[in-house]
Symmetry: C2
Subunit: 425 residues, 2 copies
């Protein structure tokens, strides 16, 4: 194995984790040659001449073999990755937002430059899911990828249910402990797990789906009444990301879900993540590990660096070799929708309703609603409502057509018909 000189961008939590894992790994032949950081004034525990603020000092250094990008800013990260590839260096990154939003472009760039971008650390920290999907399930038709892809929200939900607390107080505690960001939006509204789901869609089903097309609902609207409803039914709630192939379509979304005891995700606690696969050959698979943290993510990054030492690349087998399956939001999902007073939700929006409950300050409806509807502004921005998938794992309605969508379509067609009629008269 050749000795590897690493040019590192960013020296935050994961960057320092990588440094630690490199130092404590007894059989890795490589070292960090240079670290590019934003703020040269910050006190660091490493020698000052290891640091630079000039990107070019890494990109243009012929002695640096690979670039490891571990900064927060997705735009700047993309810039680094593109520059590195174009100057003939392979890249390891853990920036899920950047990868998810630019994956099609990154795949093209890899083809053009012949260099690799690896990003195991971007999805579920210490769980080797991308490499496993590429290498182990590359030839296997998969039916489902599902799991808990965000450690902060899983920590919050675990505390809520185990310690019988409410959402705001646990969020505060998680922030104090460093388990949640001071601006927790990306986590608690389900954006972070959506980026990961978007990346996994490429490796599991061979399709690129921009995150903007995937429905994400978070845990930030969970009310005490919802928690009581869950507890009285013996459920907990998990923020579940899932993608399923039904016939020749793929559906995918991030929505909190009621979870029964003994469900395979029920015992995934605190900052742990889980990924379940359902394949044609292997049947059910479950992977559990720490989803975040300095060392677990640092170790994932190190495993990518190690793979670059023998010129490993993702082959994107399914993306290149299979017919592209269409991704769709035109399907009903069965949800529990809670709100405070009847006028806040238009029941016409549902495809069908199985249960309704109204009281002085709490209402809920259980029924089928189209995924596409949940993505629309009147639902997305309605802070009064909270949506949780029912505990039925199979989501039997998924894959059916949405009647509301069909009606809209018919209305549109009729309108056009009328316009044509008027024109022809």
């Amino acid at each position: 194995m050749k000795n590897i000189n690493i040019g590192l961008f960013g020296f935050g939590c994961v960057g320092q984790g990588l440094y630690e894992t490199l130092n404590n790994s007894k059989n890795f032949a490589g070292q960090i040659a240079k670290i590019c950081i934003k703020n040269p004034e910050k006190k660091r525990k490493l020698s000052a001449d290891l640091f630079t603020t000039q990107k070019e000092e890494i990109i243009n250094d012929p002695n640096i073999d690979i670039v490891v990008e571990l900064i927060d800013d997705a735009e700047a990260a993309l810039d680094i990755v593109v520059s590195a590839l174009q100057s003939g260096k392979s890249v390891v990154t853990a920036n899920k937002k950047m990868v998810a939003e630019n994956l099609e472009y990154l795949v093209e760039l890899q083809q053009q430059t012949g260099k690799a971008v690896l990003y195991e650390g971007a999805v579920c920290g210490s769980i080797p899911i991308i490499r496993t999907l590429e290498e182990y399930f590359g030839h296997e038709p998969l039916n489902e990828v599902k799991g808990i892809f965000n450690g902060s929200t899983n920590y919050i939900l675990t505390k809520i249910f185990e310690d019988r607390l409410d959402y705001p107080s646990v969020l505060k505690e998680a922030q104090d402990l460093g388990f949640a960001e001071s601006d927790p939006t990306l986590d608690v509204q389900g954006y972070d797990p959506k980026f990961k789901l978007s990346i996994l869609l490429t490796h599991a089903f061979g399709i690129h789906v921009p995150p903007s097309e995937i429905t994400n609902l978070g845990i930030d609207r969970l009310k005490t009444a919802d928690l009581e409803y869950a507890r009285s039914n013996g459920y907990t709630i998990k923020l579940v990301s899932q993608a399923r192939r039904i016939g020749e379509k793929v559906f995918g979304f991030v929505i909190p879900q009621f979870v029964k005891p003994h469900h395979k995700l029920a015992d995934i606690r605190n900052e742990f993540n889980a990924v379940t696969l359902d394949g044609e050959f292997c049947d059910e698979q479950l992977f559990i590990g720490k989803g975040a943290g300095s060392l677990p993510t640092g170790a994932a990054v190190l495993s990518d660096i190690s793979a670059l030492s023998y010129d490993y690349k993702y082959e994107y087998k399914k993306h290149y070799n299979l017919g592209k399956l269409p991704f769709s939001n035109q399907s009903p999902v069965k949800v529990y929708v809670s709100y405070n007073s009847p006028e806040q939700v238009d029941l016409q929006d549902f495809e069908s309703i199985q249960e309704k409950y109204f009281s002085f300050d709490h209402c809920y409806v259980i029924g089928n609603i189209c995924l596409g509807k949940l993505q629309k502004d009147d639902w997305r921005n309605n802070k009064n409502i909270n949506v949780v998938l029912t505990a039925e794992d199979s989501q039997t309605g998924l894959g059916n057509l949405c009647v509301n969508d069909l009606k809209d379509e018919i209305d549109e067609l009729k309108k056009g018909q009328k316009i044509r009629e008027r024109i022809t008269i």
Copy 2:
């Protein structure tokens, strides 16, 4: 990716599974060119000219790129693998006994010939544990590898506890259903999971430990009284394989264990397998999947074939790059030992005893006993006794020295001393 011509040995359960997965995988470029079988008279669903009984027709065919060995007989399997490597063909095998018993030799042969032997299908069926250990944890110091590595016994134990049945009746049922072999010795006495543990020791800790050095106790001596003891304590029993690094020594054994509810192995049911890892960087990891079966194992074999298409090899990084850790049986484990009458067990064999129970036809002792003692003939062959590890997961005594061993050593030294004294007199 190049098109691959496969020469297959054996067309039993896994061979047919491979054929199925190849046929149903939409993006794999390769086919089975020839199948070598033992019995040409058997009716097969494939065209007769695909089959041969002559090994050389595959080994000497320059159009065949790789050899896939899926026969039962470990000795004949080794012969095939060696011939294939020596004639310049890489090999995929799923024969755990053959691999475990010859791993050091197979590693050497790979070095000599420059060809690869891959054997993901040999360990825990559909769980991609070997590749993960090689690629993902190749640079990470591991503390523990543990799990349920045998589907037949896990199926039997699940039925025993969920349906409140006894061992003989469930074994019979499992045999009728094809979940257990007509000669179940390798499974129920813990040999099969021991072969797998031996293979994982190489990939997790870099050491080759012949299966004969690893203690294996099975589930075939479980008596009704033991099941009652487990049930009354709220335990189930699992056949657990485990290897742990403590200081600079590695311990490993396959012994049934009492398992508390909510333990990470408690919900691994029926033919599912599980592997847990504990690493310095990643902390705890858990992998769950089907441990056996035609398609799951066939898919594992296919993933190895696919890896050969880009000349993948196990690097045995830890084996080559780390100091060899010694494997030891000189440590106490905490066990529940049951038997029928007091004279059947010599309590002096224990390091220490915490509990004793005697009744008319059932006795048990809970205490620490040296692993090496459990391996000795007087314990191994004593059909009256049943040994189960206590539910304490940490096995706090592990890694300590065995007082009995030290006494024996002192006795030996004293004997020598006396002989020397007599000689010198």
